[in-house]
């Protein structure tokens, strides 16, 4: 499975499993407004 890319300063790489779990939690809680895609 290809995970999303994370950038730390100038380094861009695929997320680790832990980073991906944190990313999913953060985006699950990201608020939405009317008209958001």
């Amino acid at each position: 499975m290809t995970r999303p890319l994370i950038q730390i300063d100038d380094e861009v790489r695929e997320m680790t499993e832990q980073e991906y779990a944190e990313y999913l939690e953060t985006t699950a809680n990201a608020p939405q407004l009317g008209g958001d895609e």
Binding site: P4, L5, I6, Q7, I8, D9, D10, V12, M15, E19, E22, Y23, E25, T26, T27, N29, A30, P31, Q32, L33, G34, G35, D36, E37
Partner: protein
């Protein structure tokens, strides 16, 4: 110094003048290609109590998306204890709010203008001190503008800022972090 001096070409600046510079550029970070999250290390240091973060430019794969901010120290990103209130008004009228009450990050710290660039200017107060951190800011997207503010409840020192896209990915754009002169 209450009256700002008028500088001339070739003039030497005194220490008093230089020490009165209000904002100091601490770090500039260009956003990479197709990333979902950006961590800026060394964002906050003991040099400044308070910071301004300006985010602009770049493109997004999802229109009118947002950035969520989190604080980080060492290898640990704080994912709890964030509180915020976002008050916004669509350009067609009305006044609405969205709130985060002890959630995983500060929502709406930046908005994308459609898919054509970030819009954000926020102040982050005392992130490096081992006290709760507060933030205030505003931004606009293609259909609305708003202001938000909140705080992070942990009495912990943080030196890094993590920005995560709410939907899709981002490419390019610049994050600039300035320190307010103490």
């Amino acid at each position: 110094m209450t009256t700002p001096p008028v500088f001339s070409v070739g003039q030497y600046n005194t220490a008093a003048y230089m020490n009165s510079i209000g904002l100091w550029l601490v770090k500039t970070q260009t956003i990479g290609t197709g990333v979902s999250s950006v961590t800026i290390t060394g964002a906050f240091t003991a040099d400044f109590d308070n910071y301004k973060v300006v985010i602009s430019g770049g493109t997004q794969t999802s229109a009118n998306t947002l950035l969520t901010a989190q604080l980080r120290t060492g290898s640990t990103t704080s994912t709890t204890g964030y509180y915020y209130s976002f008050i916004y008004s669509p350009f067609t009228g009305g006044l609405l709010t969205v709130n985060g009450n002890n959630t995983t990050g500060w929502g709406f710290v930046a908005h994308s203008l459609g898919t054509s660039g970030w819009s954000a200017s926020i102040d982050i107060l005392r992130p490096y001190a081992a006290v709760p951190t507060s933030f205030f800011g505003g931004g606009a997207r293609g259909d609305l503008a708003g202001m938000n503010g909140g705080y992070h409840s942990a009495a912990t020192s943080y030196d890094q800022l993590v920005l995560t896209v709410g939907s899709g990915t981002m490419t390019g754009g610049t994050i600039r972090i300035y320190g307010y002169r103490d």
